[in-house]
């Protein structure tokens, strides 16, 4: 199954980036064999509308589920319209996130879990 996880760095050793719309990278991961592709998030520095822009971008990559820290209202609307399932995870290494996803330990998000503009102004460590 192909999932996308928001990441601080473009590799599996990276930690999860808790922001969806303004994450640094999306790791598109094949859960069966852990093969992945790292995609730079062009919406990270958008002055506005990062959520919808990132959602459109990730929807074009054929993933079935997205894992992040929080999803703002605009991102939530766009991602669910695209038929993706959304999961919330805490900040930890991406491989642990994938393990938790496969073990069914992640909470599925049924509504926007974060406020608008949450990722604005905070920079990646």
């Amino acid at each position: 199954m192909k999932i996308a996880v928001t990441a601080e760095k473009p590799n599996l050793e990276s930690e999860l980036d808790p922001r969806f719309g303004r994450c640094n990278y999306f790791l598109v991961i094949e859960t069966d064999d852990r093969s992945f592709e790292a995609l730079e998030n062009s919406a990270a520095g958008a002055s506005g509308g990062a959520g919808p822009q990132a959602a459109q971008f990730i929807a074009e990559h054929g993933v079935e589920a997205v894992v992040s820290g929080d999803f703002g209202p605009n991102a939530f609307r766009a991602l669910t319209a695209a038929g993706m399932k959304l999961y919330k995870a805490s900040v930890k290494p991406i491989l642990d996130v994938v393990d938790a996803f496969e073990a069914g330990e992640l909470i599925e998000v049924g509504e926007a879990s974060g406020p608008s503009h949450k990722g604005m102004g905070s920079s990646a460590r």
Partner: protein, 291 residues
């Protein structure tokens, strides 16, 4: 003669100065516009009788799914990511839309038409001899600019008449929109490092917009000399000083304008108006000479 009263920092006394300036000019029937549409408060001091209200909206796209092919052209041309295509669905985010119309014009299928999205309400009325208007931004709407723009062009008097625009705080888009088209900017500050920090930004904005600026120092007597030094260095005239006073504070807290609480300030505000008019006049002559 359009004066914008701005500050950068919030809570320095913009509305205190703007309302007293209007009251000092009441015989000339000034137009007062509260452009702080996110938190309009001048009405608390001027107690206008509101006689007319108008809704303000911006045109946002509505997509006809029967004609749409989900080609993605609309999302591509939108600078604000207010319209996106996910799978076969086109989604519009009204709060992100600036109403520019690009998506509607660029749609190759003619599948988009525009509908009005309510941003807020403008109100107009009288406060004695003052022609008063204010805007109330709809709760949840993040964009103040379209409403401020509409307010500015609602009650436009003759060129000779006084227009006083009470600006929102800060130096972002709503303040730019308020300042644009003014003849002079009056910056109200307090003599503290906080006041100075934001005064610098506001003064720089006025400079970029090519508008003459002057300063009123409120709560004079506290803080430090930083604001004075800055004004001297930048050649920005300090036209008035209002001391920090418990009596003034108590009156304002009861909604009593400064010139009503302390009528001794009336001539000072009339003098302030005269100085602003001269600044604006020389500014205009300067522009003419350059052209």
């Amino acid at each position: 003669m359009i004066v914008t009263v701005a500050s950068g920092k919030g809570g320095t006394g913009k509305t205190t100065v703007a309302t007293s300036l209007a009251l000092a000019l009441v015989d000339e029937h000034p137009v007062f516009i509260d452009c702080d549409v996110e938190a309009a408060n001048a009405h608390l001091f001027l107690s206008p009788e509101i006689r007319e209200s108008r809704e303000v909206g911006i045109p946002i796209p509505e997509v006809n799914p029967d004609l749409c092919t989900a080609c993605g052209r609309c999302a591509e041309v939108c600078a604000f990511h207010a319209i996106v295509v996910v799978g076969k669905e086109v989604m519009v985010f009204p709060q992100l839309c600036h109403g520019c119309g690009s998506c509607t014009r660029q749609c190759p299928e003619g599948a988009i038409h525009e509908v009005s999205h309510l941003q807020g309400v403008m109100q107009h009325g009288r406060a004695g001899g003052i022609r008063f208007s204010q805007g109330i931004l709809k709760v949840g709407e993040p964009m103040a600019v379209p409403l401020i723009h509409a307010l500015k062009s609602w009650d436009v008097p003759d060129d000779e008449a006084w227009v006083i625009r009470d600006s929102p705080p800060g130096t972002a888009c709503p303040v730019v929109e308020t300042m644009v088209g003014s003849d002079v900017v009056l910056l109200v500050t307090e003599p503290t490092p906080f006041g100075l920090h934001d005064l610098r930004l506001a003064a720089e904005l006025a400079k970029i917009l090519d508008l003459p600026a002057a300063v009123v120092i409120n709560r004079d007597g506290v803080g430090d000399a930083g604001v004075e030094q800055f004004c001297e260095k930048e050649g920005i005239p300090v036209l008035m000083r209002i001391p920090l006073s418990r009596e003034i504070g108590e009156s304002l807290a009861r909604g009593i304008p400064l010139v009503k609480a302390e009528p001794g300030y009336l001539p000072a505000f009339q003098e302030l108006a005269g100085k602003l008019a001269r600044m604006a006049g020389s500014g205009r002559m300067g522009e003419g000479a350059e052209a």
